[in-house]
């Protein structure tokens, strides 16, 4: 019985695959039938026209019918950073980057392409030269040619089940034919400072306000007049310490430097690009040059050797070898924790050190941040990434002109290891005793012991990936008809440590691009792709996309002398898939013996382990599907000086996984519920980009910008039933914030007794007052409504401009985002909770009976106040922001001055990143990281680029 089923499933798969193949084959054969009739055949010409990277290949810009945007390496280089993703800010329309807190090398930005599509997993597919690698973020900007985002169904169709969230292609540089070796050397050195650091109270304010908070809570003040006086005068740094942790731990600036040398050239028959790069980025911790101490340090060596070799007249090889060595060093403490401690530790907690220079600490707060960076030793991590790709392409002109066969093999591997050298140290707690005469004396009590540095090596693991592709392409022209065919196969096997089964992907694809009279274009792309995670017989799906473009300006009726010189109209519709977020092999119902689950029998209580039903299977589990519509225009005005492009899109994402436990009656008794493909989200929006360049004499300038908007709405998500209609997530954006609506602070006791009862905690004047949404006289969770927006922006935009005059050039990039909210929760914002410090926001705005009219923050409390500190629109704030992402001023030394050094070109430049920020958040924190963890850096750099 079982065998029979398996056989049927396999048959069905083969039938589907057969259908896809036959379809492409028919399309392919059509022109040959036509050719046989007309007798004409002209192979595709390879004149130099603007090319654009597309899925599994390149196309002429004119011919492309998909929504694709590109940014060149030179633009990305202007941001001086160790993480490639941090150069993506404002780079291309539709790609939104958000800073994440992280030490250098660990600060990969979050990326969204065309906003958010699903409430499960919005990760985009990122490919380096066509293949996935483990850490694209560590690729050097010096080795890449461009990044390209593929946005609509036509663009992502060939990625099948992987493509629906959008695709980012990173393309490395390749050799160009040249009579000589072109050598390029680049060097850059920069200083980095935190773009902003939060401001917390000094000891006097801290003690004074802590007292006030205690009194508000009905408790005795902790600090007496003498203490306050001591903190105010700051005369005794040991009895009355006043430590600004940021000042003490951080140095003024850290350094970032990078160097690269590349060689480019070759004959027509063999071209090469070689690059060696090095980057070194330090952290911000001061005084960390002893053996027991550690600053953050990130170093990386990148290398790349790309060669294009004509083995014979008909056979070409493209070889790519690249990789990097990452070396990280950091103190043996989580960066987030260290930065949290710097923020929350009270300024009067203890002096930084004892008078003898020993590190302080206390029983409750043993982790003096200074001790952590100076006395604990260090940890280090060493990652090695290598990617090797060989592509062979053979002309099959003897069969048909323009026909090529190709095969590609790619291997990438990453190896991780670590080396730690850590120790513990004795720390000293200040103990204040008061004698009978009232005089305070201080001694330091030793806690913990000093240990020697001890070494730990480990953290070794390795992942590797083998890709294989082969196929045929055929480009030819038949009178007015131009055909580009592609039929190919791709498989990807990724073996990662810790998973029993490798990750596998398999796809058969075909694409036909048809051009009529170089003005009408249509493209059909189909992939038949599958992932290992689904049930046999349910692993593969067909993902077709149809698109068309029309170069209107090539029509006879077009006024060629008009303002509008180029007009392309295009549209696409297609189906794409997203396998992400699906539990692997969930089609199988598994059983197991989880540890701890069992029963005791017998007098001696022997444990008998139990066999239990594990996560509920869904034999029909499948991928999310996206039906994506896109329309676009591309225009050029004023003799090509102005480019103006726009796209609109609408996406219906369905079959999103939802947990049926929300709606299944619990009497079923299942310990988990199946994930089912029943959710739906729609997402729609637009991208507009404009670019203007002009030259007046020797003065050249450009200005441009882009704007992207994407909005989504949940159509179905199978929520738990709710009491109030407004509590549903349905019809709202994914991850919409929900909470109470704060309508001010309670003025006095009368205000409290005449208002609806707030059930979370007893309230007093100065506490947040909430709106009774359902009018039941009680404020509880049923009064939570949609507040603000969500953490990702609906709008992202960039403005750029620049000029060039007699070797002097200047450029800038402004980048921003709008229509999003941040949730100001936790230690940065809630004073005294878990002994945290009090921020400037609360110092200035907190409610008191005297300031109640203009208060902008609730009354102070030392408790985790269940009434005030719950999600409400007081803590969820809308934020719009813009950054001056980069500014650069360069000078190209005149050629004559350099000739005797055999230097072709020398450019010197200074640049700045994140120099300015504008945002409308009432609180002085970074609106992206909320100033938690390692901050966003402002960088001032100077450098040179020499061509020999």
């Amino acid at each position: 019985m079982i065998h029979k089923n398996k056989y049927i499933n396999k048959r069905r798969v083969e039938q589907k695959a057969g259908f896809g193949t036959v379809l492409i084959l028919c399309m392919y054969l059509l022109p040959f039938i036509a050719m046989a009739q007309s007798g004409q055949f002209i192979p595709g010409d390879s004149a130099t026209v603007e090319k654009v990277n597309v899925a599994y290949g390149v196309q002429d810009r004119d011919q492309t019918t998909a929504a694709i945007s590109t940014a060149r390496s030179e633009e990305l280089y202007k941001t001086h950073t160790a993480s490639l993703s941090n150069t993506f800010f404002g780079a291309v329309p539709g790609l939104t980057a958000i800073h994440r807190p992280g030490a250098p090398g660990y600060d990969e930005a979050s990326l969204y392409l065309r906003g958010v599509h699903t409430f499960v997993n919005n990760e985009i597919l990122i490919l380096l030269d066509g293949f996935q690698i483990d850490s694209y973020n560590q690729v050097s900007v010096d080795e890449i040619e461009s990044i390209t985002v593929l946005k609509d169904a036509a663009a992502v169709a060939l990625y099948g089940v992987q493509g629906a969230n959008g695709v980012l292609l990173i393309t490395t540089k390749r050799g160009k034919e040249s009579g000589k070796v072109n050598v390029n050397f680049k060097a850059r050195y920069g200083y980095q400072t935190p773009e902003s650091l939060p401001v917390f109270a000094g000891s006097y304010d801290y003690a004074r306000l802590y007292n006030q908070a205690l009194i508000n809570d009905g408790l005795q003040p902790l600090y007496d007049e003498k203490d306050l006086e001591g903190y105010r005068k700051k005369e005794d740094p040991y009895l009355y310490p006043d430590v600004n942790w940021y000042d003490e731990i951080l140095r003024k600036s850290s350094s970032i430097q990078d160097y690269s040398i590349s060689f480019n050239g070759g004959s027509q028959a063999s071209k090469y690009f070689l690059m060696l790069g090095y980057i070194n980025n330090d952290g911000l911790y001061a005084n960390t040059d002893r053996e027991s101490s550690s600053n953050i340090n990130f170093r990386r060596i990148n290398f790349r050797a790309n060669a294009d070799i004509d083995i014979t007249a008909k056979m070409k090889a493209e070889i790519g070898l690249g990789g990097n060595l990452e070396e990280r060093k950091f103190p043996p403490v989580g960066t987030d924790e260290l930065w949290k401690n710097m923020a929350v530790y009270a300024p009067n907690l203890y002096p930084l050190k004892t008078p003898e220079g020993k590190i302080t600490g206390s029983a409750n707060f043993p982790n003096n941040p200074l001790g952590y960076i100076l006395e604990r030793g260090f940890q280090s991590r060493h990652n090695r990434n290598v990617q090797a790709t060989v592509k062979l392409k053979h002309q099959l002109d003897f069969i048909a002109k323009g026909l090529n066969a190709f095969g590609t093999m790619s291997y990438s591997t990453v190896q991780y290891s670590g080396y730690d050298k850590t120790r513990n140290y004795a720390y000293y707690e200040p103990i204040v005793t008061t004698s009978s005469t009232g005089a305070d004396s201080l001694y330091f009590l030793r806690r913990g012991v000093d240990t020697d540095l001890s070494v730990y090596t480990g953290y070794n693991y390795e992942n590797h990936r083998i890709n294989f592709q082969f196929g045929l392409d055929h480009n030819f022209q038949l009178g007015d008809h131009k055909f580009d065919f592609l039929a190919m196969y791709h498989q990807d096997l990724y073996t990662a440590i810790g998973s029993q089964a490798p990750y596998a992907y398999q796809s058969v694809m075909g694409r036909v691009n048809y051009g009529l009279k170089e003005r009408y274009f249509a493209e059909l792309a189909v992939s038949y792709s599958g992932k290992e995670i689904y049930a046999p017989g349910k692993r593969f799906g067909v993902f077709p996309a149809l698109s068309a473009g029309w170069l209107v300006h090539k029509e006879g009726f077009w006024n060629q002398g008009g303002l509008l010189n180029y007009l392309k109209v295009r549209g696409s519709v297609g189906l794409s898939g997203n396998y992400r977020g699906v539990p692997r092999f969930n089609y199988n119902q598994y059983w197991g013996t989880p540890s701890g689950q069992g029963y005791y029998f017998g007098v001696g209580q022997t444990f008998y382990s139990a066999l239990v039903e594990l996560s509920k299977a869904n034999p029909n589990i499948t991928w999310e599907k996206a039906l994506i519509y896109n329309g676009g225009i591309e225009t050029k005005w004023f003799d090509g000086k102005l480019n103006l492009n726009a796209d609109v899109f609408y996406e219906d994402r369905y079959d999103i996984l939802v947990n049926m436990g929300n709606v299944i009656p619990f009497i079923s008794g299942a310990s988990s519920y199946a994930m089912e493909n029943r959710g739906e989200v729609i997402n729609y929006g637009t991208e507009i980009e404009a670019h203007y360049t002009n030259q007046i004499g020797q003065f050249r300038y450009f200005a441009g910008g882009h704007f992207a908007f994407a909005r989504n709405r949940i159509i179905e998500s199978y929520e738990t039933p709710k009491k109030e209609a407004y509590s549903y997530r349905k019809d709202r954006p994914v991850n919409q914030y929900f909470g109470l609506e704060a309508i001010g602070f309670f003025k006095d006791e009368y205000d409290i007794i005449t208002s609806p009862v707030q059930t979370f905690a007893p309230v007093q004047p100065g506490d947040l007052k909430y709106k009774d949404q359902n009018g039941d006289g009680i404020i509880d969770v049923n009064d939570e409504v949609a507040i603000g927006k969500h953490s990702y922006p609906e709008i992202s935009f960039a403005f750029k401009g620049g000029l060039e005059w007699k070797g002097v050039d200047f450029s800038f990039l402004l980048q921003g985002m709008a229509n999003r909210s941040v949730y100001l929760d936790g230690y940065m914002f809630w004073p005294f909770v878990d002994n945290s410090n009090i921020s400037q926001w609360a110092i200035e705005g907190h409610w008191t009976p005297e300031t109640h009219a203009k208060a902008s923050f609730p009354r102070l409390t030392t408790e985790p106040n269940a009434n005030n500190y719950r999600p409400s629109n007081f803590w969820v704030r809308d934020v719009n922001q813009m950054r001056l992402a980069n500014v650069e001023l360069g000078f190209t030394v005149p050629n004559k001055a350099l000739q005797r050094f055999r230097i072709e070109n020398l450019r010197l430049f200074v640049s700045g990143n994140n120099l300015l920020r504008w945002d409308d958040l009432a609180v002085d924190v970074d609106p992206e990281t909320l100033s938690r963890g390692y901050p966003v850096m402002r960088t001032y750099s100077g450098g040179l680029s020499v061509n020999f």
Binding site: E532, Q597, F666, S671
Partner: protein, 592 residues
Amino acid sequence: MKKILTIVVATLSLALGLSSCEDYLEKPVSSEINLDSVFSSKERTEQFLWNVYSTASIFEFPFYWDATDQGYNHFGTRYSLLAPACDEADTWANYAGSDFFNTGNWGPTDVFYFEFDSSFPYKGIRNANIFIENVDRSPFSESEKAAMKAEAIFLRALMHFDLMQRLGGIVIVDKTLKVTSADDIPALRTPRSSFEETVNFIVNSCDEAAKWLPNSYPSNFKGRIVKGAALALKARTLLYAASPLFNSDEPYLPVDNPDLRKMIGYSSYDPNRWKLAADANKAVLDWAANESGWCELYQGKTNPIDRYEEIFINPNVSEIILDAGMMGTHTTNYFCRFMLPGKIVYTGTDPVNIGITFNFTRFYQKQDGTEQVWDEEEGQFYPYDQYRTKLDELEPRFQASVFHSGTEWSRGVGTVYHFYEQQANLLNLYNGVGFLRKFLKGVYNGSSPAPRWITFRLAEFYLNYAEALNEINGLSSEIESAVNAIRSRVGMPAISYTNQDDMRQKIRRERAVELAFEQHRYFDVRRWKIAGEEGVMGGGMYGLKLYGPTEDTGPTYRLEKFENRVWSDKMYLYPFKQSEVDKGYIIQNPGW
């Protein structure tokens, strides 16, 4: 040229060969198990039966004592027992779930957080159903299969009883419900059964299980279900069914919906239900005496205090019909954390400190069977020696169950604790007259053996029988002898029958004392419909508060009210979880 072509073709065909079929995406063979392989092996079939045990309610307590622990949702209030949620006791710590019951601060949105997540028994029921439906495929012999199936049938009935005890008529699930898809939801929206149907289901299950269950197991499997357990569950179920809360012309709250009326009890009083209860309980006693070959009231040890204490410690005690190693030896620390007084054993700073109320202490007679004189006036100071004398005079079961001031924690060790001078040990922090000691004998540090929790012991069925028999005006000598069997075992003088009402009070009092803190009274006061009486589930709760010596006097004590508890008649039955009612297939119990 030709060579190269050959290479290309070879490469391509190699690639085709590599990827010729969908085996590429096939999951490699791994160690995972599916349903077929579960029941094709004896070992795994047994392991699955242990799963039914582990998700059934025998433990009675949360593994980590937190009602929300996934997979370990058992019973007893959060971080405590049910005793502090009724007149037996009180917790000092305000984080214990019992506090929410005592302040009336519980309802459909949070009751599962304080005690008993009603979704949990359904997980056990599902496991039992899977086992019942599949065990016949296993390679065991027919008689082994029948016996194992009977264990699962019993456990399924026990979980239905746990639900019924709290909720009345519930959704009966007697087969594995299909939950592969949201399409199954309509079929899953099973309505509640009536109370009568629920009782019948449990009773029939017990009858079926009793046919196949053995009377005993080898010692390495002590703790498995014996026939007596099925008889015991049936007997207890019928006792509940006959009790005033369910067996009455008047529901505990007026109900308009006739369907709901049937869910919260029988529509009218029927005295025959007491007869059925009496017979079923007699059957347990008969099984013990005539069939089991081992089950009898424990009569070991010479001292009656030791004898009573031993029942809850020693797994070999002959009167235990069903019990469980509470949490295994390795989690004894949780037990210490929540049950032990102050810091005598537990080393943390926030003990739960379960104190025995004065209200409950009054149920205990003096050792000679006479009443203790409790003439203290509230707020008046009395000498500490009088506290010691009066409590010392109380009967053996009090001495075994309550650790009062001026006695040893571990009896026989010799260290005497006076609570008013034990601030360092946090022994001054309790409400009532002293601390809970029952179940704890022998627990002197974190690694000493954990006690076992008793689901059924024979003593209960003497009292059940007496209670049922008294209600049907059965033979007075038989009622007397059932009650006196319990009393004489701890050296208490016999009582004698006067009339039905008086006997009812005597039986209830004897039951309170004998089964104290064993999670009976919390339900007994409900089924007797006396929870609303002053000082039972609502009203003033009292303690004897100790005061240290002053310059003028020695140590003293005072009768003080420590709490006014809140009761509302809707609390006779629990509410169904709100999130489940919102799914629209359950009729909520009245008043919620």
